[in-house]
């Protein structure tokens, strides 16, 4: 202390002896665990990838038939729809929101596409286009309620979830359009259920669609200004606003995009389910959130990689398939999913301590 008082008063001399480095986060590893923690903090997709690899290896050892290209590709077919919904969900969760309405939008739009094509005789591409527009409009409604009316996303989408669900029952007349009818009159609606072989693996266009959607979102979120704005809003909305980001406009665009992705999922779901049923995918809202959480995207917003939820959906699929093939009672699948969620968030909290 006394030393500094004796220093000369002019700036140049005072600065001469000090550290010239620019401000930076310093990391002094205090042990191997600490290094791991920092590594995971820097690459948010690693945790789900590690969990996925371990679970594939474990189930490959304990379950018959599990470790085949065919089974692994079947798991991808089974998770494709929830995976696509999880992509929509991730966008909203990255902004520190939540969209409880995605699955209801999906089922409603699938009913609209089916009814317009079959009962009203519209050309199928037109029905699909109308479905996608409806998806965008549902997102616009959510976005306006969140930004202009200033309702919390949870409340907004809890409300619209009910609204869309009721419309779904109304529009479908509570009836199912049978698979055979679709085959005969609107095969294009089942496009994403079409299969093709890659080696021993059997994939559907729905699986390809899921991968493409995630790839595009990864690019947009990591390489465009819009993507950085989405992360910034999720991290701290007020700071983002002060930094000149038009937060309301970005938020609305996020909800609209989520609605459009849900509508695309609707098209894909018709191929997967075969028929158009108003009662399909009743639990898909929660399943999409589960995939997002297990995939390492923080429910508090602004953190996590968009690729995580795809891996999260696969982890749940691998557990379900592995346990089933091992002949375990289905209730343990529910049990395992519960612990996966808790484990995922616990790891997320632990990793966050780095920045605390």
């Amino acid at each position: 202390m006394s030393e500094s008082r004796n220093k000369p008063a002019d700036y140049e001399t005072a600065v001469a002896g000090s550290d010239g480095a620019v401000a930076a986060f310093q990391h002094r590893a205090r042990g191997p665990l600490d290094t791991v923690q920092h590594f995971l903090h820097g690459s948010p997709t690693m945790v789900p990838i590690i969990v996925l690899l371990i679970s594939v290896a474990v189930f490959g050892m304990v379950s018959n038939n599990f470790f085949s290209a065919f089974n692994l590709s079947l798991i991808m077919q089974q998770v494709a729809i929830v995976g696509i919904l999880a992509a929509a969900q991730s966008l909203v969760i990255l902004t520190a929101g939540i969209d409880l309405s995605v699955a209801a939008v999906m089922v409603m739009v699938s009913v609209i596409m089916g009814r317009l094509s079959i009962d009203y005789g519209l050309p199928v591409p037109l029905s699909i286009a109308i479905g996608l527009i409806v998806g965008a409009l549902t997102g616009l409604l959510n976005g306006i309620l969140v930004t202009k009316v200033r309702l919390p996303p949870f409340i907004t989408t809890l409300g619209t979830w009910n609204v869309f669900l009721a419309l779904n029952y109304y529009l479908s007349n509570r009836e199912t359009i049978r698979s055979q009818t679709l085959d005969a009159e609107a095969p294009l609606l089942k496009l994403f259920g079409e299969r093709f072989n890659v080696g021993g693996a059997v994939l559907t266009w729905g699986v390809v669609l899921m991968i493409v959607i995630f790839a595009v979102l990864w690019y947009v979120l990591n390489r465009t200004a819009w993507g950085r704005h989405v992360y910034a809003i999720g991290d701290d909305k007020e700071a983002a606003e002060l930094a000149g980001i038009r937060t309301d406009r970005t938020l609305v665009s996020v909800y609209v995009l989520a609605g459009v992705i849900a509508a695309i999922a609707a098209w894909a779901s018709i191929g997967r389910v075969g028929s158009v049923s108003p009662t399909s995918f009743f639990e898909a809202n929660l399943e999409s959130i589960t995939a997002v959480v297990i995939g390492g995207i923080s429910l508090f917003g602004g953190r996590g990689s968009i690729l995580g939820p795809m891996i999260g959906a696969l982890i749940v699929g691998v557990f379900n398939s592995g346990l089933r093939l091992a002949g375990v009672d289905v209730l343990w699948q529910v049990f395992a999913t519960g612990w996966l969620i808790i484990l995922a968030v616990a790891i997320d909290q632990w990793i966050r301590k780095v920045s605390a």
């Binding site: 077919q77 509570r174 299969r195 289905v330």
Partner: protein, 342 residues
């Protein structure tokens, strides 16, 4: 939730106090129909049957439904509203067969006739009567039919069972166990799904009773054993989903699917050979007979009697198929179409 119940019961108490003088008056007989949901065609048909019969007999009918399958609370509120409204009787398809008994007991204490439709309460005598399909028999019929159709091949069949949900409600257990018994499998404890040791059983999976669940469950079981050739399904939507999976594996021609329900899309699937045979139930009759019973009870206090040898009133079940098997009674697809619902 607690607050809501409190609020609801306070409101009902208030309404009841105001309305109680009216209870003594001679008005039209009031009856209530409470279903699990109003989105399932099965319950839509039930409502149709009750409404038509009520109009015929001059009964004033109020209908209520839970929001989703399993929505117990809305059903409790509906029973409370019926008591408050001075109804003579309640027809209910309970979402929670054990928990609903508390409020139905209140109704019975107030002199209402409580009839369980389709789904027996637990214990079954918690209702004054039960009008339902004999679900065990419904399962047994498709089991016998599958066995008869396979003939000698039944001895080394590979069976997949597509059930409803992990909680295994009574209807799930009865149909599953009935099917296995009809097929000639030693079912051990009839109240327990999955305790059988017959090597012909490939496995069980759950479907949530819809197409999507049926497809995934079938895929999983085919993964376990691609030689499956008999598929039992809890209902026709899950059968339609199972068929999609079989088609994607290129196996739809080699597999016998059987189901239960008798809805119009399901019967059409029997006609087209997607489903081999289905056991048809009659929701419209259940509800119509229920309204008759309430009208009779209001007139002279008659309480309906169960079918002989059973602890419920059997509303009937018929096997629908165009490929009848000797010794297994069945009706044609044409007749099934005439009587189908949904």
């Amino acid at each position: 939730m607690r607050f809501r119940t409190l609020f609801a019961s306070t409101a009902i108490a208030a309404v009841a106090t105001i309305a109680s003088p009216a209870l003594a008056q001679d008005g039209p007989v009031r009856a209530c129909l409470i279903t699990k949901t109003d989105i399932n065609p099965f319950f839509v048909k039930m409502k149709e049957g009750a409404t038509a019969k009520a109009a015929e007999l001059g009964v004033e009918l109020s209908t209520y439904a839970g929001k989703i399958d399993g929505d117990h609370e809305t059903q409790v509120q509906a029973v409370e509203s019926c008591i408050a409204a001075g109804a003579k009787g309640i027809l209910i398809t309970a979402s929670d067969t054990k928990a609903i008994t508390e409020v139905t007991q209140q109704a019975r204490d107030k002199g209402l006739l409580v009839i369980a439709l389709d789904t027996p309460l637990e214990p079954i005598d918690a209702a004054d009567a039960t009008f339902a399909t004999d679900n065990f028999k419904a399962g047994e019929l498709i089991g016998q039919w599958a066995k008869g159709t396979l003939g000698d091949a039944a001895a080394d069949a590979k069976i997949a069972l597509l059930d409803l949900s992990p909680s295994a409600p009574s209807v799930d257990v009865l149909r599953d166990q009935g099917f296995l018994k009809g097929f000639g499998v030693d079912i051990k404890d009839p109240n327990q799904i999955g305790d059988e040791e017959d090597p012909r059983i490939v496995g069980h999976d759950v479907t949530s009773g819809n197409e999507e669940g049926g497809r995934t469950a079938m895929e999983n079981l085919l993964q376990k054993d691609p030689d499956i050739n008999v598929v039992y399904t809890i209902n026709e939507p899950s059968a339609a989903g199972a068929y999609e999976a079989l088609r994607s594996f290129g196996k739809e021609k080699d597999v016998l699917i059987v189901s239960v329900d008798g809805g119009c899309p399901g019967v059409k699937n029997v006609e087209e050979g997607v489903i081999g045979a289905t056991s048809q139930q009659y929701p419209l009759d259940m509800a119509a007979k229920g309204i008759e019973a309430i009208a009779a009870f209001a007139k002279d206090g008659t309480v309906p009697k169960p079918t002989e040898g059973l602890d419920f009133f059997d509303t009937g079940v018929n096997l629908v198929t165009d490929k009848p098997v000797d010794g297994v009674p069945s009706i044609s697809v044409e007749e099934g179409t005439d009587r189908c619902w949904g």
